[in-house]
């Protein structure tokens, strides 16, 4: 048992930290920008990571990666999140690329992988539909064979970054008669394909980040189907060997908590600092404790992967814990500020650049998107504890 980083790991973390600091504006942490506002900068950042080979570091070297170990990937994700360095990860890096590497043709790999690894191409995910959220396998958007093409009709929803993406990684129904999991194929969708319409959705943070995507007789070449027809759902499971510990969330959370602590120590109200209030101390300390708990729930996954074990319920635990912890962190920050919690970024008297108010709204979706807490608790209970379905 050893809870400390090796000299090599510590050196790598330092290298990442220094790179981030060198490539971010000096006042980066004093501002509060959400991901959408910082989008253009995030693409610049992604390309810089691409140049270093870090963007796709988990990928094999032959595809533009470094073949980095799980520990290295986790440390990278943790540190870049702590530094709030944008452009890390994404659908191309985390889903499209890995699936293509295993199931794609050589032509497909040559055509799409290099621009993902370099950061040149931004991808979105086209899976969720109005009728297919937690029950994702019930997706209905049809891909019908027609000569050398597939004709696509249907609708996707909550597509993050769909308005920026060059390509979409899509799941379409190619066999409506098969059981639902066995009739899905995965496709690469050039987002400028005629018949593809992107309509903005404004979320409760006031930002256009997600979209509805409509497909009206959009034509895709058969060369855009990746892997085996009707096996798309099962191909997705193979991307699970990549970083899925969620430790990045703890990097981001650690930074926010540090800022809350500084705020509490520096702010005087009613004759004492906020840090002197017993209930504030108690809540902040509890948050610090929760973060330690969650950090190891995350790193435990990395440790398993490094031993060749496949995390299953452990990944669900990390998602449940991480998403709900971020909500509790936002609540803790809010509690620290009393009436000032209401003030948004840009308002006179707003505290901490309005970051906590923004986080409080933004974290609402964390326990819903990317595997809801309910679905993940089901996985923990059934696959993890063996409870009957």
């Amino acid at each position: 048992m050893d809870f400390q980083w090796s000299a090599e790991e510590a050196a790598f973390q330092k290298e990442v930290r220094e790179f981030c600091i060198a490539n971010l504006p000096a006042d980066w942490h004093e501002q509060y920008q959400d991901d959408e506002e910082a989008f253009d900068f995030s693409r610049v950042a992604a390309k810089k990571l691409g140049q270093k080979g870090w963007l796709a570091m988990a990928w094999p070297k032959e595809y533009g990666g470094l073949g980095a170990s799980h520990w290295k990937q986790a440390l990278f994700n943790y540190e870049t999140s702590y530094q709030r360095f944008p452009g890390v990860g994404g659908i191309g890096i985390g889903m499209a690329g890995p699936t293509m590497m295993i199931y794609g043709t050589e032509e497909q790999k040559k055509q799409w992988l290099p621009d993902i690894a370099s950061g040149a191409a931004y991808w979105c995910q086209l899976f969720t539909e109005p009728g297919a959220g937690s029950d994702l396998a019930s997706l209905q958007t049809r891909a019908v064979e027609d000569g050398d093409d597939y004709v696509i009709n249907g609708q996707k929803i909550f597509t993050s970054g769909g308005h920026h993406a060059v390509f979409g990684w899509a799941g379409f129904r190619t066999d409506p008669n098969a059981p639902k999991h066995r009739g899905i194929s995965v496709f690469v969708v050039p987002m400028d394909t005629p018949g593809v319409t992107v309509r903005p959705l404004i979320n409760m943070t006031g930002v256009h980040a997600q979209n509805e995507i409509f497909f009206d007789d959009a034509r895709l070449s058969k060369d855009n189907l990746v892997g085996e027809r009707n096996r798309g759902w099962y191909q997705m499971a193979t991307t699970l060997d990549f970083e899925r510990s969620g430790v990045g969330r703890y990097g981001a959370a650690t930074r926010i908590l540090e800022e809350i602590v500084e705020y509490a120590k520096d702010t005087r109200l009613n004759g004492h600092t906020i840090a002197q209030e017993p209930r504030v101390r108690n809540k902040i300390a509890n948050m610090a404790i929760e973060m330690e708990v969650g950090k190891y729930i995350g790193f435990r996954i990395v440790w398993m992967q490094s031993k060749g074990l496949i995390p299953n319920r452990e990944a669900s635990m990390s998602k449940v814990w991480g998403a709900e912890m971020m909500q509790r962190l936002a609540n803790t920050g809010m509690m620290t500020m009393g009436m000032y919690v209401q003030l948004r970024r840009g308002s006179k008297h707003a505290q901490m650049a309005g970051r906590i108010e923004g986080q409080y709204k933004a974290t609402v979706v964390g326990s819903i998107a990317g595997g809801s807490s309910e679905v993940n608790r089901n996985i923990i209970a059934t696959r993890g504890l063996g409870l009957p379905r």
């Binding site: 048992m1 509890n286 309910e374 089901n378």
Partner: protein, 376 residues
């Protein structure tokens, strides 16, 4: 970073589990709750034969020189089985003696503690129910070549079966409360000592120990006169982590019992574990159990390696105190009516979780320590 046990620890864990399943079944635990002594000497003898009472002692005193981390691995199994044996108190007494005692005193006490022939416990807390030096009001007054001890100790674990009490007393008034604290090795049958077991929620044997003009020879002083407090703090740290690893074992077992129950209990035509209201509680229990495990072993590992561990220990106890309680509460909810019955086992864990919560300071106290550690 390596979050696993080594091979020796895995073997220890497996052997301990098999031994305790065979020798300390829950039926025995129940029996001991009603027993006057509260522990079965026959089981304790077998445990001593396993080497568990001596494992952390240096070889010269009959031990294996095992690490604190090894002890924690064993202690988790003891917590799983809630075995009714005074190992926690014996181990902490050994650590205190190893830290403070003279070579002569070590020779006098350690081998017998290691062989299981004698039982010792540390008498620290008092009616003020706190763990800081300022709470020690029991006095030790020098009188010729003796000391006279006066005061009341409360919540002293297993004092009723102890042969030896390590009494923490104030030997000198001081502005800084951490000065002036001394430890005395006092045979439990010394005149002037009266021991009364308290009746506790866990039905363990925490006792009131009244010291009324108890005379002990100068040779009873263990360690430096007026200077024992930092050693006491080190033992408290170990006590906290031990109770946390004990809690991890208990909470894991409660989860297993609960899943077992949810699979078998049928209502509305199906096992209740198929209802999400039930299965999600089990998922939350699983998250709590795993959550406890790593922060606790992080603290245990650091202590074992001699690394600074104040914050990690505060985090471990600050979390586990509430988490073990939560797990038992959720477990009871899933068990339904039968879990409320005495003959079901989960209530034994529920009651012990409360004991583990408040011993060495509850979650609020430790959150305050964490807050201080954050610089708040």
């Amino acid at each position: 970073m390596d979050l696993g046990l080594n091979e020796t620890q895995e073997i220890l864990r497996r052997i301990a589990r098999e031994f305790l399943e065979a020798e300390s079944p829950n039926a025995l635990v129940r029996q001991m709750e009603q027993d006057e002594k509260g522990y079965p000497p026959e089981l304790y003898r077998k445990i001593a034969e396993q080497g568990w009472a001596s494992m952390i002692l240096p070889e010269e005193f009959g031990g294996d020189g095992a690490s604190f981390l090894d002890l924690c691995v064993l202690n988790e199994e003891l917590g799983r089985a809630i075995a009714p044996v005074p190992l926690h108190d014996v181990w902490l007494s050994q650590y205190l003696l190893l830290d403070l005692a003279s070579d002569e005193q070590k020779k006098q006490y350690l081998p017998a503690l290691g062989s299981g022939d004698t039982i010792a416990t540390i008498a620290l807390t008092e009616p003020s129910a706190r763990y800081d030096a300022g709470a020690v009001a029991t006095t030790a007054e020098a009188d010729g070549d003796e000391y006279i001890l006066n005061g009341t100790k409360l919540f002293v674990s297993n004092a009723n079966i102890a042969d030896l009490l390590l009494v923490v007393a104030r030997s000198r008034a001081a502005v800084n409360k951490e000065e002036g604290i001394s430890v005395f090795a006092v045979p439990a049958n010394t005149p002037g000592i009266s021991i009364t077991p308290l009746v506790t929620i866990a039905l363990d044997k925490q006792c009131e120990v009244v010291l009324n003009n108890v005379r002990v020879p100068a040779s009873a002083l263990v360690g430096p006169l007026h200077g024992a407090w930092s050693a006491i703090e080190r033992v408290i740290d170990k006590g906290k982590v031990l109770i946390c690893t004990w809690s991890v074992g208990g909470a894991s077992y409660v989860l297993e019992m609960t899943v077992y129950s949810a699979k078998r209990r049928v209502q509305f035509g199906r096992p209740i574990g198929t209802f999400q209201a039930i299965s999600h509680k089990c998922a939350d229990m699983a998250i709590d159990v795993d959550g406890m495990r790593f922060v606790v072993y992080h603290a245990a590992w650091r202590l074992s390696e001699g690394l600074p561990a104040d914050q990690e220990i505060a985090i471990a106890k600050g979390w586990t105190a509430d988490a073990y309680r939560r797990v038992t509460a959720l477990g009871h909810q899933v068990h339904g009516g039968v879990g409320f019955m005495m003959d079901y086992d989960i209530q034994m864990y529920f009651r012990r979780a409360k004991m583990a919560e408040v011993l060495y300071g509850d979650a609020d106290l430790h959150r305050e320590l964490v807050a201080q550690g954050l610089g708040l």
